[in-house]
């Protein structure tokens, strides 16, 4: 098939769309669904700018981070996905978002969305994650502005947040 009709559940909303077989998830999110909160940078799963969370029963916290540029949208039928735009609840920021602001972990902001999604997955896996684990798990998300210092500080600060969603 060159096209496929799929249903994606993104940030709690249902989207039934027809996608081209060769389009990646990041392409569909940004261009078909106008979800520009997911950024596109390297397209090769190396920089993490397009990190989103996908529900997975096996994953700690029930969801796992993936690079949206590395999966075909057509193969994501039925998947439940969370992007940066889905974190806020009633205008209240997710603790990790708030920690990024408070700790000064945002400079140019281009990596920030993906970095926040990765940070959430780190804390959902282990709310008590220490520095070694945080830094190791942050790999796959590249920041050129911060040297990662305040990003790690932000993750530690948000670490007191529980895994309850």
């Amino acid at each position: 098939m060159k096209k496929r009709s799929i249903t994606l559940y993104i940030n709690g909303e249902e989207y039934t769309i027809t996608v081209q077989a060769h389009h990646t998830l990041v392409h569909v999110l940004r261009n078909q669904l106008n979800m520009t909160d997911v950024k596109h940078c390297c397209g090769r799963g190396e920089c993490g700018a397009c990190t989103v969370l996908v529900d997975d029963a096996d994953a700690p916290g029930g969801r796992k981070p993936i690079d949206a540029c590395m999966v075909l949208a057509a193969m994501m039928d039925g998947k439940k996905i969370t992007t940066v735009a889905g974190l806020e609840e009633d205008g209240k920021l997710h603790p990790v978002q708030q920690a990024f602001i408070d700790e000064g972990a945002v400079q140019c902001g281009f990596c920030t969305g993906g970095m926040i999604m990765k940070s959430i997955s780190i804390l959902e896996k282990n709310p008590k994650a220490k520095e070694d684990e945080i830094r190791s798990e942050l790999e796959g998300n590249i920041c050129r502005c911060t040297g990662y210092v305040k990003i790690v500080d932000a993750v530690k600060k948000a670490g007191s947040w529980s895994t309850k969603r």
């Binding site: 602001i101 945002v106 902001g109 920030t112 969305g113 190791s136 790999e139 050129r144 990662y148």
Partner: protein, 794 residues
């Protein structure tokens, strides 16, 4: 130290919230009615070639293609990507030899990635598919990669404007003997004066072609509208100068060119000038009325936007037995890349910062800059200073080692300070906090304790400590124009519209200028709105470069705020019928007469009545003083206040594999006054990651045909979160506030890159007793150096 109510406080950055919610819109996120997609077709196959034929016939058949454009279909004017010629007098530019050797579409391909033609299509995909189908016939030309190849008599010529391929050097007209520097007190040149030295060290350093690697891909939207106005959305660092360059390139008056500066997803010097603006605009002019978006691929970044300068820096330095720096004589052979762009700018600064650091009795540095088939170099944080610190900091440590001197004490003794010349001869330092920086950095890393501990290590892991000091600049005066124009308008409700074209590259510049405005006014931050990023409503400002935003734009902001306050005082004086000198500011915008406090008026009333100025029907008198308060502030900065810093690094070298790990790192920076401390720390921390990259992992590699081997994250290696040292400190030293900088502030935007370079290289030297003079200091180079020296020496 004064206690401020807003300046110096750790408030959230103004743009932080929209960036954490993902609602911040970069150029690539903008959606517009009728948007078309432009694709720049580049030469990927060759680093050097002539374009013989461009065949669009197959490309045109791709559904969705709107137009295919060759070199003759766009402006025929040549240009230079940089704004440099705008920042120096014309005669100066001529003497320095700046040329405009670039075209929107080039028939003489001078590096892989050079732009050859363009496609406009209805979708990004159609544009990409069509681009693949363009058939270009090339005539390959011999590839020139090294300076030796470039200077040969029979070398292919890059441009008729520079016969012999010497892109630039230091012109004799300004630099006697082609060297930047100064003679000894008795008139001897550095080379001659070297004879006075007891110890002479001569070494050649390889300085790598580092890439900025900002995370946002270069993206532009341009539209030539029904009024004949050309608008370009871009994340350039220099919106107003770029507006000038676009106007010149497309022969339009400034009133018909609008540059909208989109949020910048990182720049680091890469966007200091134009990259894809000419192409996006050229494509837009071909489809009037329709916006055209051009979005670079990540793999284009390394081949189609400028890098750091690279080449071989040969340094000869002489010292007396007691460590007195006698003379330094250097020659930098630089690889320009395919186009002129910044010319001798960065190498000149290598010389300049070499001059500004230590009290050499004589100094001379020459540079020869050769065209070659690499990506052209441009601006990158540090702008020539990294090369200087990589070489000189190591030479100092080697001299100290051979003379039995302490490298920390040597630097304390011989660094320049207040009253000495800065990087530009004749301009003196007005402040210097370096001694305090050295104290704080060495103390933080426990220098004495660890030095003792690591002096006699055995085993396969060896640790070492290194220090690196640096000085940089705050603004580019007197070398370049420094000018910012600002307008402050008082709203009816006594809040302020501040209109100035200030660039924030993620650096926190927007937040800091608002802090400075609010502090000077004595009003809350919320009362100041910054209107920037639009050439339609902003006066001239250079943009973000030479670490000028706080120092230069900050001065204009504080001066504007003072003017606004003065105008309010003047009006209050008229209203209260007293002299302006009789008035003082009270709480909450109140203005009162000091000798009769009953006489008072609130600034809010003045603001309201400045607009709502009615003739009172009862008295026939005019209410208030009419005329909205609008002040202009102009600042042509005539000072430069370089910041200093001292960095200490602790490394561990695995002498069996050559792997180097940075265990801890402290950078004490002479900031004068940190307007927004988290942003200053952020610059120091982020700059460190790039500094470590320069000295340990980063370089652009080419094969023998000039084709790039690592234009991707797979093989252009940067330190990640787990490579960075866990123990890292950005120490803000405010003990030497600057008399000129706003609130005593000096810059930090570029400085942080240099500290890691000198200190890590010296730490490696300390750990293994062998100095490695080629950066990046990879494990391969470490092992080879140990082998060549017959083992680890301690």
């Amino acid at each position: 130290m004064a206690e401020y109510s807003v300046v110096g406080h750790r408030i959230p950055k103004l743009d932080a919230r929209e960036k954490v919610t993902g609602r911040g819109m970069y150029t690539g996120d903008l959606r517009m009615e009728g948007l078309l997609y432009g694709k720049i077709v580049r030469c990927w196959e060759y680093a050097h070639a002539k374009v013989k034929k461009i065949d669009f016939s197959e490309a045109r058949k791709v559904p969705g293609v709107v137009k295919c454009l060759g070199p003759k279909d766009v402006t025929q004017r040549s240009y230079n990507t940089t704004i440099m010629k705008l920042l120096v007098p014309e005669a100066f530019s001529d003497v320095f030899g700046e040329i405009a050797d670039l075209y929107v579409f080039n028939g003489h391909v001078k590096h892989q990635g050079d732009a050859v033609c363009g496609i406009i299509a209805k979708s990004e995909e159609a544009a990409e598919r069509a681009a693949e189908k363009v058939k270009i016939t090339y005539e390959p030309l011999p590839v020139v990669m090294t300076a030796a190849e470039s200077k040969r008599k029979d070398a292919p010529q890059f441009t008729a404007l520079k016969p012999g391929n010497l892109a630039a050097n230091f012109p004799e007209a300004f630099f006697p003997g082609g060297a930047y520097g100064h003679n000894a007190p008795d008139g001897k040149t550095a080379a001659q004066h070297m004879k006075e030295a007891d110890l002479v060290i001569e070494e050649t350093f390889y300085c790598p072609r580092q890439k900025q690697v900002q995370m946002e891909n270069h993206t532009y939207i341009a539209r030539y509208d029904d009024r004949g106005r050309l608008t370009c959305w871009t994340s350039t660092q220099m919106p107003k100068p770029v507006q000038n360059l676009i106007a010149e390139l497309f022969e339009l008056p400034l009133t018909r060119v609008r540059v909208v500066q989109a949020p910048v997803g990182g720049a680091f010097g890469c966007r200091l000038g134009m990259i894809g603006e000419p192409h996006a605009c050229a494509l837009a002019m071909a489809v009037p009325g329709r916006p055209v978006k051009v979005e670079f691929l990540r793999e284009e970044d390394w081949v189609a936007s400028e890098s750091r300068a690279s080449g071989h820096l040969k340094v000869k330095a002489g010292f007396k037995k007691d460590g007195t720096p006698v003379a330094i004589d250097a020659h930098y052979e630089v690889l320009k890349g395919g186009y002129y762009t910044h010319g001798s700018g960065p190498p000149f600064c290598t010389a300049a910062f070499m001059y500004g650091m230590y009290k050499w009795q004589a100094m001379a540095m020459r540079a020869d800059i050769w065209f070659n088939n690499m990506v052209p170099y441009g601006a990158y944080q540090g702008y020539g200073n990294p090369e200087n610190t990589f070489a000189v900091e190591q030479i100092v440590d080697r001299a100290c080692n051979e003379l039995g001197l302490d490298p920390v004490e040597w630097r304390r003794k011989w660094h320049k300070g207040i009253g000495d010349d800065t990087w530009l001869m004749g301009v003196k330092y007005a402040s210097c906090g370096l001694d305090d920086c050295i104290d704080k950095a060495t103390r933080a890393i426990q220098w004495n304790k660890k030095k003792k501990e690591y002096a006699k290590m055995k085993g396969r892991k060896r640790r070492g400590l290194g220090i690196g000091v640096m000085q940089h600049t705050s603004g580019a005066w007197p070398m370049l124009l420094e000018y910012t124009n600002l307008v402050m308008r008082l709203n009816e409700d006594c809040t302020v519209e501040m209109m100035v074209s200030v660039s924030d590259l993620g650096t926190g510049g927007h937040t800091a200028v608002c802090q400075m405005a609010a502090e000077t006014l004595g009003w809350p931050m919320d009362d100041v709105h910054l209107k920037c990023c639009d050439s339609d409503c902003n006066g001239f400002d250079i943009g973000a470069h030479a670490s000028r935003t706080i120092y230069c734009v900050g001065r204009t902001v504080t001066q504007g705020a003072e003017k606004l306050k003065q105008e309010l005082i003047a009006r209050a004086a008229r209203n209260l019928q007293v002299k302006p000198g009789d008035l003082a500011w009270g709480e909450d915008k109140e203005i009162y007469c000091t000798w009769d406090p009953v006489k008072r008026i609130n600034a809010r009333q003045i603001a309201k009545e400045s607009i709502y100025s009615f003739d009172d029907p009862a008295t026939g008198k005019t209410i208030g003083i009419p005329g909205q308060i609008v002040v202009t502030s102009d600042d042509f900065v005539k000072h430069c206040s370089p910041p200093f810093s001292a960095s200490c690094a602790e490394v561990e070298v695995d002498i069996e594999t050559g792997d180097v790990k940075v265990l801890s790192f402290y950078n004490a920076h002479d900031i004068g006054k940190a307007i927004h401390p988290p942003s200053v720390e952020g610059q120091l921390e982020g700059g460190s990651q790039k500094g470590f990259g320069y000295v340990l992992t980063e370089d652009i590699y080419y094969d023998k045909n000039g084709l790039c081997l690592n234009n991707d994250f797979t093989d252009y290696k940067m330190l990640g979160a787990s490579d960075m040292p866990q123990e890292m400190g950005a120490i803000l030293v405010e003990s030497a506030p600057d008399p000129v900088g706003p609130f005593g502030a000096k810059s930090c935007g570029e400085s942080a890159l240099m500290g890691p370079i000198g200190s890590v290289a010296n730490a490696i030297y300390d750990a293994i007793g062998v100095q490695i003079t080629e950066a990046p200091i990879t494990p391969e180079r470490v092992l080879a150096a140990i082998k060549q020296n017959g083992g680890v020496k301690k």
